[in-house]
Subunit: 358 residues, 2 copies
Amino acid sequence: MMQQAAIGLGVHIRLLAEAPDVSAAQVIPDHIVGDYTDLDTLRAVAADAPVVTFDHEHVPPEHLRALRAEGHACRPGPEALLFAQDKAEMRARLFEMGIPCPRFLLVASQGELESFGYPAVVKTTRGGYDGKGVWIVRSAADADEAFASGRALLAEELVDFRRELSALVARSPSGETSSYPIVESRQVDGVCSEVIAPAADLDPALEAEARAIASRIATELDVTGILAVELFETTDGRLLVNELAMRPHNTGHWSIDGAHTSQFENHIRAVLDLPLGSAEARVPWSVMVNILGGAVDDLEAQRSVVLAAEPEVKIHLYGKAVKAGRKVGHVTAYGSDLDDVLARARHAAALFTDGVTS
Amino acid sequence: MMQQAAIGLGVHIRLLAEAPDVSAAQVIPDHIVGDYTDLDTLRAVAADAPVVTFDHEHVPPEHLRALRAEGHACRPGPEALLFAQDKAEMRARLFEMGIPCPRFLLVASQGELESFGYPAVVKTTRGGYDGKGVWIVRSAADADEAFASGRALLAEELVDFRRELSALVARSPSGETSSYPIVESRQVDGVCSEVIAPAADLDPALEAEARAIASRIATELDVTGILAVELFETTDGRLLVNELAMRPHNTGHWSIDGAHTSQFENHIRAVLDLPLGSAEARVPWSVMVNILGGAVDDLEAQRSVVLAAEPEVKIHLYGKAVKAGRKVGHVTAYGSDLDDVLARARHAAALFTDGVTS
């Protein structure tokens, strides 16, 4: 998806691919297959590139500091990325900034967790995603696996929330920001299932607060590129920050078809310090539904079925082998009637996942 | 631009590139560099591909027939392409169909041209484009160069026209068509300079007639993929067909940003016989202005100037070396006020071409 935006802007991407057949390597001619934890590999990719950026947050910060010392701009930089890599660092920093967060405590033992209190959400401070490395703990026994992992753990208040929201903002090194409408993100088993843009019936004060939180975090943490701030809207009408991501994010995929400037275009513009484009919606409603691997093995063959049923839905297939539950693509529908848009997007995604309407 | 659409649909393109550094080869990993007039090269590219399609009309028809005999679907096929390759064949066929065309005659000598009458437009029947191979003839002397070329020549009535229009339609092998709004195409020295979508103040009856002409030509000539029909709107309010192209066309580039389904996506959907998407505009006005090579050598460096001046204009750079007058990219602006949209698109293109506002 980054390459689609890069083609338009005439930006040349050199890719470090983890394997020869990953999605991005299928569409970016200039790619090197290698290990992003190996500094010499990173050096070979960076070579004459003016800017290094990422589609995940796992490149070791010491390598980014080395690249920077050798003259490469890394955007976002290692100091910012730390807060997307380590949840304990993120919580401490946001707390310091006065950003509303769930109550939290680093817990090294069952005793410390007990003193924090149940119920709690226990998370590994590093490496978790899509519900992995997260435990809902209502008694000590529920945390046994977490402590057995031997990893640093963070306990957080189990938030009583109405829904999950996401605030995306693009920020350039010169400090310009462009913030996307606040969207609702619906999760199934900890995995993003669908995104509604904008979040329906969101109190304008909360919308403004969510945008302000994202812009403030981007600015104070010196994030460059896209920052995604995942938020809880609590049942009593407050916002609490859940997670940060510093890259184009699943909750922003709707913007490819539904916003004036996609998150991928704005990410590229931001990291190259080009003026940013409008992040506002160009349609009243967009709904993105992820295509999860299911009963349909041959997504390409299924395309004709989906397009016959929903010719106006926008298809995005990632060229990945289908495995149960794996995100292998997404669809976006847009229009002026939310119920209709939601139904069309779900219908198309269900046809890709199950071959039938869910 | 085709690759941007292919990425979304998850369609794999194998490209035959004329040279290693052409635009498409920069963004399509799976490419072979070779000569499209060489059958063995075409065979190597076609290999296991279910469908062969084109971004120009110059592949020899006998090679396409050979590929087809070997089991490859060629879309459009050689019988349809003939009418985009040979203007005499096109004129004869459209005349037979009763499609309104300028008066025409194949002329083998100055005597025949004199009997056709002056003024006339004299064209080589094959190989002309962007004003090349076209002479405006007001007396015998004006046609000397044309006859000296030794090529087959067609004389056409010099049409007194108000403006040039373009009618694009996508058609799939199963016969489905999806037609784009009729646009105005403005030419400078025979080269498309800007496109206004839709054509302003177009009589609804002419709009409907133009769409019907394009759909009828696509159907009766069995065109698959995008067909572009360039039309004259005469000063007395009639439509006459000027040229045909059977591929995504410069007059349809606005659709990437301004239509629900771009001409590139619909071309791919059509040649793969997938259901087509809506070709209607998603905004009141779109204006595309070509970026012609001019005083600015480094288009990438100029990007920041253009985006600072016009952050909402959509940039499309082709990765081509700048040469005077060469199409090296285009910009599209869209919105609800035509004067504003036109001004923004022209401003951005002028900044890319001349480095200053025209």
